[in-house]
Amino acid sequence: MKVLTQAQLKAWLDDLAHNLTLVAPVNVQGKLEYGKVSGSGDVAWDYQRTDMSPKTWLFPATESVLTVRQAQDGTQILEPPEPPPTVLFGVRPCDARGNLAIDALFLNKAPSDSQYARHREATTLIGVACPQMWASCFCTVVGGAPNSTEGLDILLTELQEDKQTLFAAQVLTEKGQKLAANMPGTEREVALPSPKLTAGLPTLRPSAEWQARFNEVYWQRVGDRCLACRACTFVCPACRCFDVRDEVASRQPGVQVFERLRAWDACTSEPYRRIAGGHNPRPTPQSRLRNRFYCKFMYYPQDFGSLGCVGCGRCIDACPVNIDILEVIASVEKMAG
């Protein structure tokens, strides 16, 4: 395993930023999200868990799916440009597992989403393990861990040795190896510290037990206070629903260019399932909220064998009315007896 000092890590990142698009946690007016950095100096080093997940770098919040050019000489359909080679640094293990949840639908279920596949291919993920579970974290409840290597190309673990902060690098994939070719540091054996886990968390019940509880009054009550905003869905590293719309990009005499855009959307919002003509099968926030939880804990496992939640806890922090997914998990556990 390679062990780097902080200085070495920063130097390596500066080097990477010269040749590739380097994305890392950044502080935007007090909120932490993943943004493009020109070097290690722009990185917000001191973070527990960012407010926005890195999902937008693989599945952009707004993205052109294709461009249509209509002119006298005919109609052309043009593909969007290839994404540039990108390194996502500072990804927490939960976020990496979030990408795998999106892979399950976007890549592993045919047909493969070409935009997402291109982003995935062009991106290398460098994770940083969590030394502990934070206040709203529950990755262990959903099959994850603060030091999980799943979905990462390289995982860095911070450790203290003789009062010095060091980073031990586990290179996990071929992509990781390629990137780590010029990684500085010393090759040696080192004991990785175990992360501190939160005790007393509830147990997630299997999807069949969720299925049996679909019509419980509980779902009405927990959804009573839901505002039907999109905050939980947008901060979630595993949520992947989107809207598609054709929009005018430019209009000149004889030539019109339209973009087919896709943008994040949320099943919690009221117009999500409203069809032309006005019918809305999920007209209440309660029914929409129930669908969201069921998607993560029943539909996903039934369809893909994996969960649609990675236990990052962002939704718990973002929700203006404190709808708490961990509370929901605990309530289902209680209902199941």
Partner: protein, 280 residues
């Protein structure tokens, strides 16, 4: 590069070759794919749908109402209810559109062979059922009795009226019509399709049913069929839930764990019965 990741959201260019009025607010569009190879490869089954792009306005899913082998054109019945359909209604013969497909699953016509088939079509819901009927008529000896129950809110909303005589004329084939509200010259029954079918009381013996129509009609039709003795594994439906991408990615059309666009739109009803909250 791009060929290693074919873009499933990319439509094929097609030209409108024919437009005719099918019913009030409903037009029948005939489109032909521009690329002959794509046209040849566009092999669709009854029940499948296509995503039609009115460029610059949007894309919507439509059940394919033509039957493969009956001409190169693909026929789509377009009910004018929203932004995209409004734009499609304003297109002319010769205009370019985009077509993606065929999408979704089709009816398991082979599984229906040897059985009596009961078809229930409400309003525009008749459109995806037309190729089912045509396939049975094209292979008449392979199927048993065909009982078609066709309904609409009023006579001017009935689709494919010009084919009724042809259907009636086929061996072992019956057609029953009803409208919610009749006009003075309406010679057939008045009332809901559920009243009609309960009146005719088709036998569930060796039969399957296929229903398509507005969500509320499907709900009550299933109740009627149960009353008439049809078992859950005998009833098939084709559903429409707000579909955007049509390829199981955008998440919109889920009924519980199934997506209407990829796991459907054709379902044996007992598979989706528990998730009608997402449909009705």
């Amino acid at each position: 590069m791009s060929h290693s990741h074919p873009n499933p959201m990319k439509p094929n260019l097609a030209t409108i070759t024919g437009i005719r009025n099918l019913a009030t607010g409903i037009k029948l569009l005939q489109v032909k794919l521009d690329d002959p190879q794509v046209s040849r490869d566009f092999d669709y089954q009854p029940g499948q749908f296509a995503e039609l792009s009115a460029f610059g306005v949007g894309e919507s899913p439509f059940g394919i109402t033509s039957t493969r082998g009956h001409g190169e054109e693909i026929e789509l019945a377009i009910n004018r209810v929203g932004t995209v359909t409004e734009a499609v209604h304003r297109l002319d013969v010769g205009d370019k559109v985009g077509v993606r497909g065929p999408l979704g699953n089709g009816f398991p016509m082979d599984q229906f062979k040897g059985k009596n088939v009961v078809v229930l079509g409400g309003g525009i819901g008749g459109a995806p059922l037309r190729p089912v009927i045509q396939t049975i008529l094209d292979n008449r000896a392979d199927y048993g009795k065909l009982s078609i129950f066709w309904a609409a809110r009023s006579p001017d909303l009935l689709v494919f009226t010009e084919e009724y005589d042809y259907w009636r004329a086929q061996p072992n084939t019956e057609l029953y019509l009803t409208v919610d509200v009749r006009t003075p010259d309406w010679p057939h029954k008045e009332g809901l399709i559920t009243t009609l079918i309960e009146g005719v009381n088709p036998s569930p013996e060796n039969a399957i049913t296929i229903t398509c129509g507005p969500p509320i009609m499907i709900k009550f039709a299933m109740l009627s069929l149960k009353k008439l003795g049809f078992k859950p594994d005998q009833n098939w439906v084709t559903l429409e839930a707000k579909m955007k991408c049509g390829i199981g990615k955008c998440g919109r059309c889920n009924l519980g764990p199934v997506f209407v666009c990829t796991d459907g739109p054709v379902f044996r009803f007992d598979r989706v019965e528990g998730f009608m909250e997402s449909f009705v």
